[in-house]
Symmetry: D2
Subunit: 275 residues, 4 copies
């Protein structure tokens, strides 16, 4: 029985690119972190240290920066697709490319000044291979909280269960959401904003019997409104807010004072797909 | 020559308190991290392990949570002052208390749902001792960027200088600002918002010949507008954005594509005071 | 076309468990972080908020702590297997369980005192389903550096390539390694230590023409020495150390002074498998 | 009443310097992060943006790297003193310099390969002004744990106290220690190692009635053994390990299974000085 090289890829991770559009006095800004990863037959590099088929990660970095000027950096999905297609089409040993982009948002102060806005991050991961193109966009670090409208009751119990049922609790999460597009003829910015709005609306409006249910409602609403999206994946830490027992001090605490715990946290993950 | 105990304090750091006001269907939220530190003659605990004069940090934590209900948690300065005064007035061995509060802001979605807003954090540090009361409020993680209107030229050079002058660069920082109040009869929330607005306005509007100059203009403007503030301290990392050299690829880069560097960073710190 | 629930799981992440064995004056310590994730048919919870088949994550946490006493916590693989088997065998709706454990090592000072040792973390991920049992152990945060014995030359170039060849560079990484066991009749602690030793030895001894080659040699050596291991996966950030240009100051720098950069970094990932 | 510039300084923070000594096949490595901060009359830069007295932080960075070669980087205290003296002596507007160095330790694998060792960091902060020179060395991230030999009882109580006394608890901390030298004629490496050994020995051996007492014993022992040290400051988070209540599951837990909590934590700080 022999030993052989299995799956492998390589690239330049976390290139920090800021692109300013300054054709008019009213500048525009795009602030992103870009990671590249290339697949192909790189076995000579592994087995013999032969780099003749290896495009250096330094070159990938250069391309990331050069393309921000040469091809432009407006909608991160377009930018990532352009990069991925280039590596696959123009660099012979490369058969697949995965480009991941995180984008940070800024709020305008004047024509050329900004303040960092939401803590949340817009994301995309683009994969181009001989099998086709795949765009998975999303967001992360979207921190949400409801102070009522959330229950947790009727759950399964066993000999290790001590949790009490509650019909009114805080529900809070730092949401990671990703959604897969059926194609690439998409209005990326517009769609992203609409999906974000749906996620927020569902979180706020659904009376939640379970975090699972809220996630399902979020994902379903996105698929119902956006036929160009084929599936939605949601990962939601249950950021526990424990009601503090103030009775030793002669105080009632009807869900008013909470301890926000760090660890452990529940972690609920679900994908909603088309049938 | 003997050995003795010098300065010392102790407390409970980073209590995560969330306070919901739910007297009407339209809830209010306060989300804070509270740290306590007590001073006094605790030498017996150090020298002999005698705890009879030591109020446990666990009790301090309990008080932090209980006061969020018993005394209320609205403006963080009032809440911190109330805690500090309690420890000094009511716990005999305690001669001084320092209460630090960080507050995270939320943007309302509906009556009882919110999304985390600015990444920036509002801060206060309150100290109560026999010498009096001192309130230092501020903010941190306020990330700012200008894509023009910033120069760096005419600087001192020596044999280790390689930097080129520039008359148009990106200036970006993650500002930490603190300001000291002359007293405690202050409209805390209103003043904090006004100071923040001044800091943003000065950053955006001042044509900057040096980050030092921008900080000075920020601090001066706050003191001019707010006689109840006696000094302003500003700590500003110079988050370097380097123009990427695209000439090897036949591309010009007139301040359009930047590499946002992590480390090292310039660090400029200044205090502006009344004469 | 309908919408349905796809893949999903839930659990309690990052339970921080410290287990002291104190049967004799010479105590033993195990310090771990445990995450649980359960799979099964939980569609009622998602679609209708019906929790009757959902064992709360709080109960999972309780089980994690209780088993540290009831079943013991010595070798993390055994502990994780015991937990995973319990959830699948004893909780009716659960068809699969994944238990991840990170272990932190301590160096003994005396019978009951320790100092935190290596920054690196020992890991295991155990999966139990109807299809069988799978144990993937490993380590992360293993930071390595070679000051010579590493080249990078003969690589593919294109119009975006500016990198110069080098026949003597620093090679440094923060290694993540995982390896899959063929079964569960394994001396876990002994094997883990032996694999770690092989990884260190190969990193140090192989004259590296590429980081890819070093990873391959590491993985191959592990498979050659350990028939009970079926594959090895390695993820290695190339922590760039750039030679600082000191020539403006009249100084030579023959690979003596380096700038250790944070981002971007190369990221090389490879799996070595049996044929 | 006017407004004026108060205290201010500026510098280049967190320069990541790796210095290899390769005069023989058996290399040596120094891995440090260096921060510079200069004081002086820089009011023109603040008030008018006039940089003619400002040595750029970029030049300070160049000097940090150049000196690693030109002057050498062996003991971090010597290196920091050399840098600080240079800025004050050779750059006219500079009246004071503060150089902070963090050093990461490596364990040798062979002549030119290493693995990162203790997670702890060695530190020094050197200040040179017209008033003289001051060296404060230390360590941070020294994580310690005792599984017995620690009590907490007889403490002060008030109406917010719920804590129970204990005569056997886990005591754990992530120690930050700094000590001030009387002069600069010191064997830096040797002294640092001896102080570290004393701190570990005292932590392990003292039967602790309070974390305060342990800190006092640590500081006192250092001063007794090292006349060249004038004071020791210790900052110790009380990393709480809570005994998990396993009684609902019919299990006893005689200090065997603990939940290691993140926040809040007690924070005890003390300075031990010569009389």
């Amino acid at each position: 029985m022999g030993i052989r090289l299995g799956a492998n890829d390589y690239g330049k991770a976390e290139n920090r690119v800021v692109r300013i559009y300054r054709d008019t006095p009213r500048h525009e800004i795009r602030d992103v972190t870009v990671s590249t990863a290339l697949q192909g037959d790189f076995s000579a590099a592994h087995l013999h240290g032969d780099q003749s088929r290896v495009l250096p990660t330094d070159t990938q970095k250069n391309t990331v920066y050069a393309y921000a000027k040469e091809k432009g950096l407006r909608e991160i999905e377009d930018y990532a697709l352009t990069l991925a297609r280039h590596f696959v089409a123009d660099v012979e040993p490369v058969s697949g490319a995965r480009i991941a982009v995180d984008e940070y948002s800024w709020e305008r102060l004047n024509d050329h000044s900004w303040v960092r806005r939401q803590s949340e991050v817009r994301t995309t991961v683009v994969e181009v291979t001989s099998a086709g193109e795949r765009v998975v966009s999303g967001l992360k670090d979207l921190v949400l909280l409801k102070s009522t409208g959330s229950e947790f009751a009727g759950f399964l119990t066993d000999e290790y269960t001590t949790l009490q049922e509650t019909h009114d609790r805080i529900m809070s999460t730092s949401l990671v959401a990703t959604w897969t597009y059926a194609g690439t003829a998409v209005e990326w910015d517009k769609t992203w904003s609409e999906v974000r709005a749906i996620l927020l609306e569902r979180f706020a409006s659904v009376h939640s019997l379970a975090l699972q249910q809220t996630l399902w409602e979020m994902g379903k609403a996105v698929l119902e409104a956006h036929p160009e999206i084929t599936e939605v994946s949601l990962s939601a830490p249950n950021k526990h807010h424990f009601v503090v027992d103030l009775s030793p001090f002669g105080l009632e605490n009807p869900n008013e004072v909470f301890h926000a715990a760090d660890r452990p946290y529940g972690l609920i993950q679900a994908t909603v797909v088309r049938d």
